[in-house]
């Protein structure tokens, strides 16, 4: 980082005065600014640790909460910092990881050299570790100064603690709370192809590609491509993107994107009343997210299916716990004592349950703990799936009819909401959310199927944009054919990768057209976005889409 920034600084300094003036947030802003650093997400953190140190490392602890902006945590990542209480959390996690990496059972595999003595400093071995591991953790090679400092500190720590590996652990723990790891910095450098202009440097491009396509740190090949300048050439970039798009690690990127877009972070605080929903156990809650992500990966990556069909596909995966929640018969042919084994399951053709909107990860996530809410489900569908904004409710609202479940005139949610929505103050917003939400009323708060509420048959007739339909299956078909569906996911994919909204230019329109021409092939969309010139554009050249 130091070397790269100094290259930039040499160009920027004459515009800005003395170096001392660069140190504060209140100082003049440089003429050319780098894109905002992005605080890494918990999912990225965990995947990076797995990819660098292997899956046996437990990443234990709670992360500082993320902030959603413009529909994505990935966009909110450009606004958040690390608070003092948050850094304590990161510090705890980092020390836990470091202790595991250097413990006796893992050190042989994870430390690339053996010290002359396990109870004393060994600068040569520490240097090897810092150089190799640091490159993966910081997503760039460390400067000689950085290496020398860390080796010196590792030596001092080893001497104090009389333990070489404890010294390495201290250095690793330090690296895992360093800004170079917790934030994905996007360094800029003069663009030799365009005198007077700047570009992202190679390592920043590599990190952006890896975060986008793999939800992880760059691997050795990608870092090498950054070092050689390959990522600055069209052919070189294409080679790397094609390699990454065909890698099994693409699944991690796809999972991470959809977990963000579908708001799965809210599962952390989701609870259902076991008195009303005994099948919605803590185990089932975790499995509902996995069910949807497995459905997505199977449909989009393995089957290379049309993105729109994700909302109508009868194919999914279930465990016994989920089968109990959904009350569907699950035939287990090979039990082998694994009660939570994932089993492919296809709903019958005439079954109203199809697509990811009928799964508990949607209908249960967007319901209060004790009952369903057509309004919350409709709002989530509009905002998360179609990228449409629903205004917040006014402060002074009479909701008394909606919740009076003992009123014999208003037994179902539809009846109560209809009565409530006759109020002019409420009608505007509820027309946006309720009709689509009411079509999902056959799912209770936990995602289980029902046909009655308080003894009255549930009416799931609904309407969206003038198209009338019935129930979850009808909704799935209407959503599938709504133009906003594909436009939304296209913009969200870009925003997930870049941390900002896409520009409205011809290149963007071409990406949308290619997505349509490919029958909405999702990995193809990710590839197109990664290869576009906009993907690495600097803030001054980005136009924000309205």
């Amino acid at each position: 980082m130091l070397k790269r920034v100094l290259v930039l600084a040499a160009s920027v300094l004459p515009l800005m005065g003395s170096p001392a003036s660069l140190s504060s947030a209140t100082d003049p802003v440089p003429a050319v600014v780098a894109p905002s650093p992005l605080r890494i997400s918990p999912a990225f953190y965990k995947q990076s640790i797995i990819d660098i140190f292997g899956p046996s490392i437990d990443v234990e602890g709670r992360f500082e909460p993320e902030e959603r902006e413009e529909g994505l945590m990935a966009v909110g990542a450009r606004k958040v910092s690390v608070t003092d209480a948050g850094l304590e959390l990161y510090d705890d996690i980092a020390r836990g990881i470091a202790a595991q990496v250097v413990d006796e059972k893992r050190r042989t595999a994870l430390i690339p050299c053996k010290p002359q003595s396990a109870t004393a400093a060994d600068d040569a071995c520490a240097r090897t570790f810092v150089t190799q591991t640091g490159r993966l953790v910081f997503r760039r090679p460390l400067t000689e100064q950085e290496i020398a400092t860390k080796v010196k500190l590792a030596g001092e720590a080893a001497t104090t603690l009389k333990d070489f590996y404890a010294g390495l652990g201290a250095i690793l723990g330090d690296m895992l709370i360093a800004p170079d790891f917790l934030f994905r910095h996007r360094a800029i450098e003069p663009d030799p192809a365009k005198p007077g202009e700047y570009r992202l440097d190679g390592y920043s491009k590599a990190a952006q590609l890896a975060a986008f396509l793999w939800n992880s740190a760059p691997d050795d090949m990608l870092l090498t491509a950054a070092a050689t300048g390959e990522l600055h050439t069209a052919d070189g970039l294409r080679r790397q993107v094609d390699r990454m798009a065909s890698s099994p690690a693409l699944e991690s990127g796809v999972r991470s994107f959809f977990a963000d877009m579908l708001g799965f972070a809210d599962f952390e605080t989701l609870a259902k009343d076991p008195m009303f929903f005994p099948a919605y156990t803590i185990k089932a809650k975790g499995q509902t997210q996995e069910q949807t992500l497995r459905t997505i990966v199977d449909h989009l990556i393995i089957r290379q299916g049309d993105y729109r069909d994700l909302f109508t596909t009868p194919r999914t995966f279930l465990t016994r716990s989920l089968a109990a929640l959904y009350n569907v018969p699950l035939v287990e042919l090979a039990d082998n004592g694994q009660p939570d084994r994932w089993i492919p399951f296809t709903y019958p053709e005439d079954d109203p349950r199809a697509g990811i909107l009928s799964q508990a990860s949607f209908v249960a996530l967007h319901s209060p703990s004790g009952r369903s809410s057509p309004t919350l489900r409709g709002k989530a569908l509009r905002e998360n799936i179609l990228c449409q904004r629903v205004p917040p409710p006014p402060g002074d609202v009479q909701f008394n009819i909606v919740q009076d479940t003992s009123n014999p005139l208003y037994k179902t949610a539809r009846q109560r909401l209809t009565a409530h929505s006759t109020s002019p103050a409420c009608a505007g917003c509820h027309k946006i959310t309720d009709p689509i939400g009411l079509s999902l009323e056959n799912f209770d708060s936990s995602g289980a199927w029902r046909i009655n509420e308080n003894g009255a048959e549930i009416d799931t007739n609904a309407e969206l944009n003038g198209v009338k339909f019935n129930g979850a299956a009808g909704l799935a078909k209407v959503i599938r054919n709504d133009a906003a569906l594909t436009g939304c996911v296209t913009r969200r994919v870009y925003a997930f990768g870049v941390g900002a909204q896409p520009p409205r230019n011809d290149e963007w329109k071409a990406i949308e057209k290619k997505f349509a021409d490919s029958k909405y092939n999702f990995p193809g969309l990710m590839r197109q976005v990664a290869l576009s010139s906009m993907f690495f554009a600097l803030p001054s050249t980005q136009e924000t889409a309205k």
């Binding site: 920034v5 650093p37 910092s81 209480a85 304590e88 001092e156 104090t160 952390e268 004790g370």
Partner: protein, 447 residues
């Protein structure tokens, strides 16, 4: 730029550690307080502490307001639980958060105004009251502040340093116990003190990270520099925390390491009973953390307004009741919703009582601290920003006159925040922005 004295101390300690672990003998703790109990034996004043306590959905429309002002007011039924502490409570009624043409982002804007003094249309939130006071009273402790949320949501917290996001709240009493009283806890009353070599190493290594600060800032815009400044401030605070762990703590008579709280089944909860149980566990831990000198500022929240808790067997939560339940025409308030408010006020009583149960010399810890209790909305059904109930409990070691009802109908609610700052010794003459800016404290309560 490194602090020269810190560097020197680190070198000294490195030298000590180079010779192996060292124990420092401490004097017997036979006389920790001076004769009148206002200061430690070494004449250092007993530290001032602040607790903030946030509950959702206020107390009612205007029916909670006592009819008379001053000391002889009748405690409203909504605050009946606080009767044992009436003489140590100041109730402020009628304060308002002014929107100045901006939208009311329900469950957010009100607290934004009350607790930071400024409102905006966006989600900007920084510079909360507890941090402004904490900067004056909270230096030199292991934790600058500790945040907890009884409702299970780590985002249910309102503490935010200037330029920083909201601090995440701890939602697990067991994890909070481990954080404060786990292996890193140094008992101030222990007979001997041994600096932990691992802490020494961590602090030494951590210092190196701050050296890269200048380089990371150079190519960033102003907002991003502020974000990175926040990160580096957090880093310095972590370094200071480690430095404090390497120093022999001053003895504190009232400090007693609490028992380990039970393990939770799940962090996510929805029942009021579960939330209240956690609240009480948190209250005990926070009281011990204050008594043991681990921090001087604690922030406790029940939930954010939107994360409503539920009663057992009921499908609606507190939040939905506030929206959907009609006001009883005879009683003048929402009956179902009021059950939650009553329970929260019982929890506040328990919080106060827990602080009061710790004796420091001839007085309780409550007498040497202030609890500021506030809420997101006043009238729950309307989600109103008018007529806020605000409470200051405890005299802060004689800094506040207590036992009064202070009606401030239509006044800026931020005036209570300014009064709190002035009383706690913050050198400030004005606070807030726009119509929420106030330039004079409420003199009736300042001693």
């Amino acid at each position: 730029m490194k602090n020269v004295s810190m560097l020197a101390r680190r070198r000294v300690l490195r030298g000590i550690l180079g010779g192996g672990a060292v124990s420092f003998g401490l004097p017997l703790l036979d006389c920790l307080l001076n004769s009148n109990g206002t200061a430690l034996a070494n004449n250092a004043p007993i530290p001032l502490r602040l607790a903030t306590w946030m509950w959702p959905f206020g107390l009612g429309d205007s029916d909670y307001r006592p009819k008379t002002a001053g000391k002889d007011y009748e405690l409203p039924v909504q605050l009946a639980s606080l009767k044992p502490f009436k003489e140590r409570v100041n109730l402020f009624s009628g304060g308002e958060v002014f929107l100045d043409g901006m939208s009311n982002n329900t469950h957010f804007t009100g607290v934004q105004g009350l607790f930071t003094g400024k409102i905006s249309n966006g989600a900007e939130y920084s510079g909360s009251l507890d941090t402004l006071i904490g900067d004056v009273i909270g230096k030199g402790t292991r934790f600058r502040s500790i945040e907890v949320s009884a409702g299970g949501d780590p985002r249910a917290t309102w503490s935010a340093r200037t330029g920083s996001g909201k601090s995440p709240a701890e939602v697990s009493p067991l994890k909070l116990y481990t954080r404060i009283f786990g292996p890193e806890f140094v008992d101030p009353n222990a007979a001997s003190f041994t600096p932990d070599p691992e802490v020494m190493v961590r602090k030494s290594v951590l210092s190196a990270v701050t050296e890269d600060r200048q380089d990371l800032m150079k190519s960033l815009g102003a907002a991003d520099r502020a974000r990175m400044d926040t990160y580096f401030t957090s880093l310095r605070m972590l370094e200071q925390k480690l430095a404090i762990q390497l120093e022999k703590p001053a003895p504190l008579e009232a400090c007693k390491k609490p028992d380990t709280p039970p393990q939770e089944k799940s962090t996510a909860i929805s029942l009021l009973s579960e939330g209240m149980e956690r609240h009480d566990l948190f209250a005990k831990l926070l009281a011990h953390a204050l008594a043991c000198g681990q921090t001087r500022v604690v922030n406790s929240a029940i939930t954010t307004g939107t994360d409503g808790l539920r009663m057992e067997g009921e499908t609606s939560n507190h939040h939905t009741y506030t929206h959907e339940e009609p006001v009883d025409p005879k009683l003048g308030y929402q009956v179902e919703s009021a059950r939650f408010q009553d329970r929260y006020m019982r929890a506040l009583h328990d919080f106060i009582a827990t602080m009061d149960s710790i004796q420091e010399g001839d007085r309780s810890m409550l007498d040497r601290m202030v609890i500021y209790a506030f809420t997101d909305h006043s009238a729950p059904r309307l989600h109103s920003l008018r007529n806020y109930p605000q409470l200051i409990i405890g005299s802060g070691g004689g800094r506040f006159k207590t036992g009064q009802h202070i009606p401030r109908q239509g006044d800026a609610a931020t005036r209570v925040g300014l009064t709190l700052q002035v009383g706690m010794g913050v050198p400030v003459s004005a606070w807030g922005s726009g119509s929420n800016r106030v330039t004079s404290p409420i003199s009736e309560v300042l001693a």
